[in-house]
Symmetry: C3
Subunit: 243 residues, 3 copies
C-alpha cells in the first residue's frame, strides 16, 4: 500500500473518533440542558400557581363586597365545600350559591349595605402534585353591621389548568357591631340554626370568637424551621396551642 492510501485509511477513523466525541459531548450537554429547562419550567409553574391561587382568593373578596353571588359561586369546583363561621358545611357549588343568596341577600349591592371583605396576608402552598394547593389568608371585614376578622384555611384544585376553591374554611376570629366599638359589642359566633339555609353537615369545629378565642390550625409549617405548627389543644375559652 502506498503512503497515500494508508493515510486514506486513517482519516475516516480519526473522523469517526472526533465525531463520537462531539456527538457524545453534545448529547450529554443537550440532555443536561433539557433537564435544566424542565426544572426551570417547574419552578416557574409553581410561581404562576402561587399567583393564581391568590387571585382566586382576592376575586372572592371583591365579589363578596358587591354581592356578586353568581361570580362568587363560579370560583368553586363542582363538589367544593364552604364553611364560614359556625354555620356548618355546605357541599357543592349550588349550595354555595344558596348560602349566599338565601343567607346573605339577593345578588347585587343595595343602599345602606356595606360588606367589604378585604383580603391579604396569604401563606400559599402548592402541593407536589401541582394540582392541589392550600392557603392561609385573612379577611378584614368592614361592614354596615360592624367589624370582622376572619382567618381562612382554604384548599384549591386545578382542573383543566384552572385553579378553583375546593374547600373554603373561614372561621371568625372576631365579629362585632361598630356602634359600641368592636370590643364591647361582639358576636361570639354563628351556628347552624341561626338563619337559613341549613347546612349539609354540622360544623367541623365548635368554638367561640373574641372575647373567647380559637386558633384555626395552620397548614403552613414554620417557614424557618420547616416544622409543622403545633396542633391546637382544647382549653377553656377556646382552642390554644404552642405551649
Amino acid at each position: 500500500m502506498s503512503m497515500v492510501t494508508h493515510v486514506h485509511r486513517l482519516l475516516p477513523a480519526l473522523v469517526l473518533a472526533a465525531l463520537c466525541t462531539t456527538a457524545n459531548a453534545a448529547g450529554v450537554d443537550l440532555q443536561s440542558l433539557e433537564k435544566q429547562l424542565n426544572d426551570v419550567g417547574a419552578r416557574i409553574q409553581r410561581l404562576q400557581d402561587l399567583t393564581e391561587v391568590e387571585i382566586v382568593q382576592h376575586a372572592y373578596g371583591y365579589y363578596v363586597d358587591k354581592a356578586q353571588w353568581r361570580s362568587l359561586s363560579d370560583l368553586f369546583a363542582e363538589n367544593a365545600t364552604l364553611e364560614i363561621g359556625g354555620k356548618g358545611v355546605f357541599t357543592g357549588k349550588a349550595r354555595v350559591f344558596e348560602y349566599m343568596t338565601v343567607g346573605l341577600g339577593p345578588i347585587g349591592p343595595r343602599n345602606n349595605s356595606l360588606i367589604d371583605h378585604q383580603q391579604f396576608q396569604c401563606l400559599p402552598t402548592i402541593h407536589d402534585d401541582g394540582v392541589t394547593a392550600e392557603a392561609r389568608c385573612i379577611a378584614f371585614v368592614m361592614s354596615s353591621g360592624g367589624w370582622g376578622h376572619v382567618y381562612y384555611e382554604d384548599d384549591y384544585i386545578k382542573e383543566n389548568g384552572v385553579w378553583k376553591f375546593k374547600k373554603l374554611h373561614g372561621p371568625f376570629n372576631m365579629y362585632s357591631g361598630y356602634k359600641l366599638g368592636w370590643v364591647d359589642q361582639v358576636t361570639v359566633n354563628t351556628f347552624p340554626e341561626k338563619f337559613p339555609p341549613w347546612p349539609d353537615l354540622p360544623p367541623t369545629i365548635i368554638y367561640l370568637t373574641y372575647p373567647s378565642y380559637y386558633i384555626e390550625p395552620f397548614h403552613y409549617p414554620n417557614p424557618v424551621t420547616g416544622k409543622p405548627m403545633p396542633a391546637p389543644s382544647p382549653r377553656a375559652g377556646g382552642e390554644a396551642f404552642g405551649r
Copy 2:
C-alpha cells in the same frame, strides 16, 4: 479494487451518515431548546412585570401617607391621567402634582394629620404587548378625617423598561368621619368644584358612595370561568351589575 480500498470507500459514507444524523438530531434539539428558553423567558418576564406593577401601586400608598407629592407624581407617565373620587380628570404629571399640593396640602407630613392609604388585594393583568398593564386594587384609608375604602382600576405603561401609572382611577366606595362612626357620618362623594384645583375634564362617571353604592367595572375577568365580568347597569342608588 482491493477489499481494503473498498472499506476505505465505505467508511466516509458511514461517517457522513452518522454525522448527518447527529447534526440533525442536535439541530432539532437546539432549536427546540432555544424555543423553550424563549417561552421560559417570557413567562418569567410576566411574573416580574406583575411584581413591578404591584410595587408601583404599593409605593403610591406610602407616598400618600407622608405627603411625598414629588415622589408620588414621579410615579406617573408624562401624559398620565388621575381621577380620584368625583373631582374629575387631571391630565399630565404636572397636574397630578398640582392636584396633590393644591388640593391636599404642602409636601411633607404635619402635626395632627394622618392620611394612611393602605394598599392590597391587587388583581393585576399584564397585556400581551408586555408594555401595558391594568390592576384592580384596594386602598383602606385611615386618616385624621376618618375612614375610607377606595377601589382602584389603574392602567400602567412600561417605558424604557420601567412601569409607571398611565391612568389612576380611584372611585370611593365609602368615606366617612370617624367621630360618629363610619356608618353615621358619611361623605357621599367629592365633586369638581368642591375644592381647588379644577380638573381638566369632567368626571368620567357620576356616582354616590355609601350609603348609596357604585361598582367600579372590573377589568379582570372571572379567574375561573374566564368570562368578562357583567357590565354595570345603572339602578337607583348607584350602579349595579351581575343580575
Copy 3:
C-alpha cells in the same frame, strides 16, 4: 491514482470540514443556551426569594396574633436584632423571645385579648449577593387595646437556603385606644423603661407618633426614577423629608 481513490481522499476532508462546522455551531449554541439558562435560573431565584421573604413577614403577623412566641422567635437568625416602637434594641434570638414573653405576656391566646397584626403592602428588595434582603411593609393593628399603624423596615438573611429576620425595625406611625376613637386617645410612643424587659441598646431613633409624626427612612428607591428616597430631615414635631 485512480479517480476513485482520489475521491476517497477527498471525502474524509469534506466530512471533517462538515464536522467542524457542525461541532462549532453546536458548541456556540450550547454555550449561549447554558448562559441563558443560568440567567433564567437567577431570575427565577430572585422571584422565589421575593416570595419567601414576604412569607416570613406574613408568618410573623400570624404568630403575633396568637402569641406564638416560640414560633415567632424561630423566625429570627441567631444574632438578629429587634426594635419595636421606642423600646430600644434587643439583640439575639433569645432576647426576642424574652421581649415577647416578658413584655407582652405568656405564650398562647387568652380571653379578652385581641392582638391582630395584619401584614401587607411590602416593597421587598433582594440584594445582589442573593443572601441578604430588605422589605418595607405595614402592620395594621387591631387589638383589644386599640388601633395601631406600624411601618417595618426589616432586614433578612438567607442561611442554608432559608430566609430569616436579620433585623426587625417596627416604628409606630400611630397607636391609640379605641374607646375615644383613634384620633383622641393616642399613645405617643413607647420608651425603654416603660415596661420590662430592658433593652440591650438604646433606641436608634427618638420620635413621637401621631399626632406628631415620624417618617421611617425608605430603603426602597422610587420605583420609577430609581433615585434613592430623600433622607429624612429633623423638623419640629418629628422627622420629615422630601421637601
